[in-house]
């Protein structure tokens, strides 16, 4: 069974099993509006997870991206309100660039000063969040102030259905954005030398240097992309919920890292894929969503996420050890 050798196949199989089980417990799971809602909740976490995937592949870890995302969305919307700008593309470019700039700081410390990524990103994340709240502001920007252009953009649906009771629901077009980002990251990882250098660094940084990779470029690409994706996802999130909250995304890093590890990425670097990450994100979102449907307390949801991190990490470690043996 060569196909079962692939981590993605195993994850897909587990995912399907979980879906069947959840469907048996709660048949409403298979309702189209629930599935559409599920897909919608995948978009923001998924885009962030793709950034975290790059960092994990390179052998690092990133806990700063929620702060970067919050900063990017809040600064961008503040800027829009100050200038009265009403476009869509411009703000997303700005949010992406803000995230990218923060990512460059991570890259600088990780590469130039050879610091441990966990410490670097703990520090930068905390600083960015602190500056945002202390210097820029703490007040939320509500629906009445949010730029309408962004809200209209995020409201776009691919298909619209009508419930028997007359209410409407649809599949958000943002899933296309997610898909496009995923495809780009996949192409980057699979078909560019930079992408392969990320795997190489995560496998053995010293060997990567000896072979002749430019690790500075690699690290810049990894952390800048992670930051950029976080910034982009931050603004997208804000547009989708019609709210700009500088305290948003607190604690999200654990969910996202859990999703990426669940998708088969090694916490020690060098292994993981875009497809696996998409599946891992779907699984995590689905489990959390089902817990909400089953009215499980949010504190217990934290327990479940913690268990997922531990179990998924143990599973990948076990897999890697078996391969190395």
């Amino acid at each position: 069974m060569a196909i079962l050798q692939r981590s993605e196949a195993v994850i897909a199989l587990i995912l399907l099993t979980a879906m069947v089980v959840i469907g048996l417990i709660n048949p409403a799971f298979w309702n189209l509006d629930n599935l559409f809602g599920l897909v919608k909740s995948n978009v923001v976490i998924g885009i962030m997870a793709l950034g975290v995937l790059l960092v994990l592949l390179s052998g690092g870890i990133d806990v700063s991206f929620p702060a970067f995302a919050a900063a990017a969305l809040y600064l961008t919307i503040k800027a829009m309100l100050a200038t009265g700008y009403q476009g869509v593309v411009g703000p997303f470019v700005l949010a992406t660039l803000i995230g990218l700039a923060f990512g460059a700081i991570n890259a600088l410390f990780v590469h130039r000063f050879k610091m441990i990524p966990l410490i670097v990103t703990l520090g930068t994340g905390s600083m960015v969040r602190g500056f945002l709240l202390g210097v820029v502001g703490t007040s939320m920007i509500n629906i009445n102030m949010m730029p309408p252009a962004l809200i209209d953009f995020a409201k776009t649906d691919l298909v619209t259905m009508t419930q028997p009771d007359g209410s409407q629901y649809g599949l958000t077009a943002m899933v296309l954005v997610y898909g496009a980002v995923a495809l780009l990251i996949h192409l980057l990882l699979r078909y560019t030398i930079i992408g392969r250098s990320i795997y190489a660094v995560g496998g053995d940084a010293e060997a990567a240097r000896r072979v002749g990779f430019n690790l500075r470029t690699t690290m810049l690409v990894v952390y800048c992309t992670a930051g950029a994706l976080a910034g982009f996802a931050g603004l997208l999130h804000s547009s989708m919920i019609w709210l700009a909250n500088p305290r948003d995304f607190v604690g999200l890093e654990l969910d996202v890292i859990a999703a990426v590890v669940l998708g088969g990425a090694s916490i020690f670097g060098g292994r993981g894929s875009v497809l696996g990450t998409i599946l891992g994100v779907f699984m995590l979102v689905m489990v959390k969503n089902s817990l909400i449907i089953m009215k499980v307390d949010t504190t217990w949801q934290r327990v479940v996420v913690g268990v997922i991190v531990i179990v998924a990490t143990a599973a990948t470690v076990w897999r890697d050890r078996k391969r190395r043996a």
Partner: protein, 500 residues
């Protein structure tokens, strides 16, 4: 007379004022297999790094194809066809064989994108050149060491190599794999590529090379055709001393024979060993050999309380024992130095002192508080007694050479007042000089302190020189017992071969 491919002329190199190399000259001719021999720390690695452009020499010149190349860089060295295969291979365990092989080419051609079909084709050609068959899609991390080495060699040859430098290539290989490697090396030579083989294993050097250079303490001692050397002359050149073949003679004290120290009677563990009966008296060194899987390690583990569930009788100093744990074994005076001291026996990033004292802290503690001055003084005396080469006992064990690490493990057990010392492969991966030193220490311990030693080894000369008796084990049983004084190395070797 052809020009040497690469030539070092009176090379000198210092690190922080310490001389690593002095006046070393070395010429490698095109297509020759040359051996660079020396003990650990003699300067072999420094020479490799100078040839590959990693270090710049402080004195002397490097010539390639007869032309001086001042300030040789790694890039230039590679361009001139010098390829080094380091001991760790510098491969990516998480990537496939094909990608590992193709990465260098892609980088050299400054590509931006990966063409997977091209990668596979390139990799297939590289492996065909060595006439080996490997799964291109296998992850390199899943290959055995020999497989990784083949990938490393194939990768090195892809960049138009003219000289392949192999650093200790046989360290982790079985005899069978070494033979396969030597076939490949000869094959490479037929393609006109020179090979510099860096090693401290004498038999292999004599077998593979055409010319031999020996260095010691950063100076070249001798150079010549391999045919002019034998093991003894290489050893002398490497260590600067004659390591005499001494035999260990155990003379039972006059009068009553001493009481047995260790007695095994009918020791049986199904699937591992059967009906083992052996008596060791104080001061005896008994050798134990046999093929891998003969059950010898299981037996050692049983004596050390790690393998339980055996039947039969075990006595130490007449007291019948059932060893159920390591603590129990240690309490009864059993000490064990494992085969793989790095993974089983040492805490590599801890200091020498802590490693030596790891098993005896309890004895030196009062109410669970360790008496520091006493303990440190003890460690200091042990470092001196065991001739461990270190400025301080605070140095992490991981930074010591293999021979010195082995001494630390043995020292640890001596501090526990061991009565029975079990050594499993005591000098594997240890260079000749240290080996002789370790042997001297072991013999001294048996003779002067009445320790009973059980020495498990594949190294026949080691057994013959150090033991007064040698027991051969096969398929879980003791099959023969030899008196070392009247047995030659050849006889033991032949008997071992006969066990297959």
């Amino acid at each position: 007379m052809t020009e040497p491919l690469i030539e070092l002329r009176s090379i000198g190199k210092r690190f922080a004022g310490v001389r690593a190399l002095e006046g070393v000259s070395l010429a490698i001719m095109p297509g020759e297999i040359h051996c660079l021999a020396g003990e650990n720390g003699s300067g072999k690695s420094t020479i490799i790094k100078i040839m590959s452009g990693v270090y710049k020499p402080d004195e002397g010149e490097i010539r390639i194809d007869g032309k001086t190349v001042p300030g040789l860089t790694t890039r230039e060295s590679i361009r001139h066809g010098v390829q080094v295969i380091y001991q760790d291979f510098s491969l990516f365990g998480n990537l496939t064989v094909a990608e590992n092989l193709a990465l260098n080419t892609a980088l050299r051609e400054r590509r931006k994108f990966v063409n997977w079909r091209g990668v596979r084709a390139l990799a297939r050609r590289a492996l065909e050149r060595l006439d080996v068959d490997l799964d291109l899609d296998a992850e390199v991390g899943s290959l055995p060491t020999a497989g990784k080495q083949i990938v490393a060699i194939a990768r090195a040859l892809m960049s138009d190599a003219r000289l392949l430098i192999m650093d200790e290539p046989t360290t982790a290989l079985t005899r069978h794999e070494v033979d396969a490697l030597f076939r490949i090396v000869h094959d490479i030579q037929r393609q006109g590529i020179a090979v510099l083989f860096v090693s401290h294993k004498m038999r292999e050097m004599l077998e593979i090379s055409e010319r031999l250079t020996v260095i010691r303490n950063g100076r070249k001692v001798v150079e010549g055709p391999t045919g002019d050397f034998d093991e003894a002359s290489i050893t002398r050149a490497m260590t600067g001393q004659d390591i005499r073949d001494e035999h260990y003679v155990w003379i039972p004290p006059a009068g009553a024979a001493p009481a047995p120290r260790l007695e095994m009677r009918g020791l049986t563990l199904p699937g591992a060993f059967e009906d083992l009966t052996l008596t060791l008296r104080p001061g005896e060194i008994v050798g134990l050999s046999g093929l891998l899987g003969s059950g010898r390690t299981d037996m050692a583990l049983a004596l050390f309380g790690l393998e339980t569930g055996w039947t039969g009788e075990l006595r130490i100093d007449g007291e019948p024992l059932r060893l159920r744990s390591v603590q129990e074994a240690i309490r009864h005076g059993v000490a064990y130095v494992p085969e793989d001291r790095l993974t089983e026996g040492l805490f590599l990033n801890q200091s020498i002192n802590r490693n030596m004292l790891a098993s005896s802290y309890e004895e030196h503690a009062r109410l669970s508080v360790i008496d520091r001055p006493v303990v440190n003084d003890l460690a200091q005396r042990m470092i001196a007694a065991m001739h461990i080469a270190t400025p301080t006992g605070e140095k992490p064990v991981g930074q010591l050479s293999g021979g010195n690490q082995q001494r630390v493990v043995i020292a640890r057990w001596l501090l526990t007042d061991a009565r029975v010392l079990i050594l499993n492969g005591p000098t594997v991966g240890v260079d000749v000089g240290s080996k002789a030193e370790i042997h001297r220490i072991i013999r001294g311990l048996a003779r002067d302190k009445g320790l009973s030693v059980l020495m498990i080894s594949d190294d026949v000369p080691e057994l013959v020189q150090n033991c007064n008796r040698i027991v051969l084990m096969h398929r879980g049983r003791f099959v023969q017992e030899l008196d070392a004084a009247t047995t030659t190395e050849e006889q033991v070797g032949d008997l071992l071969k006969g066990l297959r």
